[in-house]
């Protein structure tokens, strides 16, 4: 993307998105418009089935390159940039030597399942909810705490070095900030509340590391970064293209999208439709415990203001189901064609597709479930299946919003959406029909980077307050419900019947 010549003369905010497959840097102007983008992918390392790692040194090199690239494409200098914001893949865990700056092991990525057995062991007689009250999370292999424990147990001599105070732990925000602010030469070892809330080591109410959990997981406090707010100046970039610029925000990617969508009021929610889907709802300044299979997490915290909490529900298979239709089934040539195929029929022809490819996630959490296409008759064509594919994403969103309403007592008034699948008009209309609520797409698709930029801009006074950010938010499209209540209820019932049929397929979990 290039400048169109209609942007102001600056100043600007730069956002770094250290993501799962790539690192990006986007420069934004005061209106929240994109001035330039640079992006670089990094290697996905699969040492064993179920294991996923990243080379943190490669990632840091890429981050430096994309920052330089975005600044150059924008035709600006460090003097034009008022702050740097960071957003990152969540939970991915790294430990490094604070004297040399060398990682002691590849970063263990959030998708990595090597801590499955360890998590069961940590659950003891209580099970996966052992730390839920304190952390809002179930014991699952995504979260950082058990990954730290795995590293301490499996990298030779690491525990001793950690206890001696030579080793630092961090999620990718910490790694990027530590390096940006000088690394071995005075780098700041910090993390923000949103990233810390995904470690399973932080107490959601005190926003401090929980000593009891640290003891249970046998993690020495010396390795931990300082927990800071999501929007404050952590330090200044030491060198590189943005030397001297304040590093002023950090937010996990989904929380950054919540911020970029300006969901600042209790009950406002966003849903990001990519390979999988992540939905977060702002629940105000109190953490809401979930009894319906959702996660409780920190949404954001601006400086010394009260923290804002969120409920989170994720759907494992959404965009990837469309890819599956393209790559494994060969029913379409491109992802966008799913809409063409699905639009060629009026309805699903009685077919329902529950893509429980690796079990059912929120709100069911059934690992014994597997995918099902139910309701097949001779009448059903591939077009009906395509329709069922899109409806699956919409119904799964409905299940999560229902769980959020039950947990929070707040009815969803409108859903703000972003991500690649929002270009699918039929899906967005179906979503609105099934939710019986308006679905709204904002004008800037890059809400994750925008959220990091917003938080950094607030921290340095580039934007005065969240109202100014709201004023930047622009509606690009809105879909309103067109389905009558009877049809919706009948269809939902059929969907739930199809979901039931996925359960118990795997008889022996081992």
């Amino acid at each position: 993307m290039t400048t169109t010549g209609t942007h102001g003369q600056g100043p600007f905010i730069a956002a770094i998105d250290q993501g799962t497959t790539s690192s990006r840097c986007i420069v934004f102007d005061r209106d929240g418009r994109i001035v330039s983008v640079d992006q670089k992918e990094h290697e996905q390392i699969f040492p064993k089935p179920g294991w996923v790692e990243h080379d943190a040194t490669e990632i840091w090199t890429n981050v430096q390159q994309v920052v330089a690239g975005a600044v150059e494409k924008a035709g600006i200098t460090a003097a034009d940039v008022k702050a740097i914001g960071i957003t990152n893949q969540r939970e991915t865990t790294l430990m490094w030597d604070k004297n040399t700056g060398e990682p002691v092991h590849n970063a263990i990525v959030w998708q990595d399942t090597r801590t499955d057995a360890l998590c069961k062991e940590l659950g003891r007689n209580v099970g996966q909810d052992r730390f839920r009250r304190e952390t809002g999370l179930p014991l699952a292999s995504y979260f950082s705490g058990p990954k730290v424990r795995w590293l301490l147990d499996n990298v030779e001599g690491l525990r001793e070095r950690a206890e001696a105070g030579d080793i630092l732990f961090g999620t990718m925000d910490s790694w990027v900030i530590w390096n940006l602010t000088g690394g071995v030469d005075g780098g700041r070892h910090v993390t923000d509340v949103t990233n810390a809330s995904r470690t399973m080591l932080m107490n959601l109410r005190s926003l401090e590391w929980d000593e009891r959990i640290l003891a249970s997981m046998e993690i020495p406090a010396a390795v931990l970064p300082e927990i800071r707010s999501s929007a404050e100046v952590y330090g200044h970039a030491k060198d590189g293209a943005l030397a001297g610029v304040p590093v002023a925000s950090a937010l996990g990617d989904q929380q950054a999208a919540l911020f970029g969508q300006t969901c600042f009021e209790q009950g406002e929610a966003k849903s990001t439709y990519g390979t999988g889907t992540f939905m977060l709802m702002n629940t105000g300044d109190e953490p809401v415990q979930s009894y319906n299979g959702l996660l409780t997490t920190v949404g954001y915290r601006i400086g010394d203001q009260k923290p804002v909490y969120a409920l989170e529900g994720s759907i494992a298979v959404t965009g990837s189901l469309v890819q599956w239709m393209r790559d494994q089934m060969g029913l379409i040539k491109s992802a966008a064609e799913i809409e063409t195929l699905a639009s060629s029929v009026e309805d699903n022809g009685g077919a329902y597709f529950v893509p429980a490819f690796s079990g059912l996630f929120a709100p069911y959490w059934r690992s014994d479930a597997r995918g099902v296409i139910a309701g097949l008759t001779r009448y059903v064509t591939k077009a009906h299946i395509a329709r069922a594919v899109l409806e699956a994403t919409a119904w799964q969103t409905r299940e999560i919003t229902d769980a959020m309403t039950k947990d929070s007592g707040v009815e969803l008034t409108a859903l703000k959406v972003d991500g690649g699948m929002t270009s699918n008009n039929l899906l967005m209309q179906t979503l609105s029909d099934f939710l019986d609520a308006p679905v709204v797409r904002p004008m800037v698709a890059e809400t994750t980077c925008l959220g990091a930029a917003y938080a950094a801009g607030l921290a340095v006074g580039f934007w005065p307050d969240t109202d100014a950010l709201r004023a930047n938010w622009r509606r690009a499209a809105e879909w309103t419900p067109r389905m009558d209540a009877d049809t919706r209820d009948r269809e939902y019932k059929s969907w739930l019947k199809a979901v039931e049929r996925t359960m118990g397929w795997i008889e022996d979990e081992e």
Partner: protein, 254 residues
């Protein structure tokens, strides 16, 4: 027998030769198999290569069939693919112009709106995806009629209804509007379809330079026009957007 073009026959023979099993052939293989002088064979191969029908292996210098042949078979661009590619650019156009953005393709006798971005103010607006617009009076329709021969015949053979006193309905006048559109690369509609409404549109081309759609902005005439003329900055923004989408679809710079 009717008169045929020898070089086309030879090119066709070369493609059949290269299609015979999975193989790469050198220049002399091709020349001798078809009984041609090397220079003649090379000229034809080079032309086919430029069109993408033949590719040359950089290491061995041997020739094989090109990817373009595969694409010929399924050349139809899915409109949802077009929308997905245009999304970012259309959003940016709406923000920079302050007006609503429409993306249209030819469908039957009119323009089918396949993408719509709201005007970036807080007013209530309704998504118009799926709506039809006339070919002869709207900016999108004029662009399609100027660049797409099928749209052109639909528009010239239709009745060209007068929606307002400004609608151009006469065939000769309409053709000169299309000539102007082709000459400057964009079309306008100043109160020719709806009173008080003006629009500007430019063509989107695919990688073969085929016109696959049109993108434009629509707004109140007093905002879009300056002293009776269309705002030059708006026109430039629309054309930039059309070029950006075309580039994303693989069209070269033009």
């Amino acid at each position: 027998m009717a008169r045929t073009i020898q070089s086309l026959e030879r090119a066709a023979a070369m493609l059949r030769l290269l299609a015979g099993g999975e193989r790469r052939l050198g220049l002399s293989d091709v020349a001798s198999a078809l009984g041609l002088a090397k220079g003649t064979a090379h000229g034809i191969l080079r032309t086919l290569q430029q069109e993408g029908f033949v590719e040359q292996d950089p290491a061995s210098g041997r020739y094989q069939l090109g990817a373009e042949l595969l694409r010929l078979g399924n050349s139809y661009l899915d409109v949802h693919e077009l929308r997905a590619r245009a999304l970012v650019w259309a959003d940016d156009l709406a923000r920079s112009s302050g007006e609503s953005v429409y993306l249209g393709v030819l469908h039957q006798q009119g323009v089918l709106i396949i993408h719509h971005v709201f005007r970036p103010d807080d007013s209530r607006q309704v998504l118009e995806v799926g709506a039809m617009q006339p070919l002869h009076s709207t900016a999108l329709g004029k662009v399609l009629s100027a660049y797409d021969p099928v749209a052109h015949s639909e528009a010239t053979e239709s009745d060209r209804e007068a929606f307002t006193p400004h609608t151009v309905t006469g065939l000769a006048d309409f053709e000169s509007v299309l000539d102007l559109t082709r000459a400057r690369g964009w079309a306008s509609d100043v109160e020719e379809t709806w009173a008080g409404v003006a629009s500007v549109a430019a063509p989107i081309h695919d990688r073969r330079r085929m016109p696959v759609g049109a993108v434009g902005i629509t707004g109140a005439v007093e905002r879009v026009c300056e002293g009776g003329e269309l705002g030059a900055q708006l026109v430039a923004a629309v054309r930039d957007c059309a070029r950006a989408v075309s580039r994303d679809l693989g069209a070269g710079r033009f």
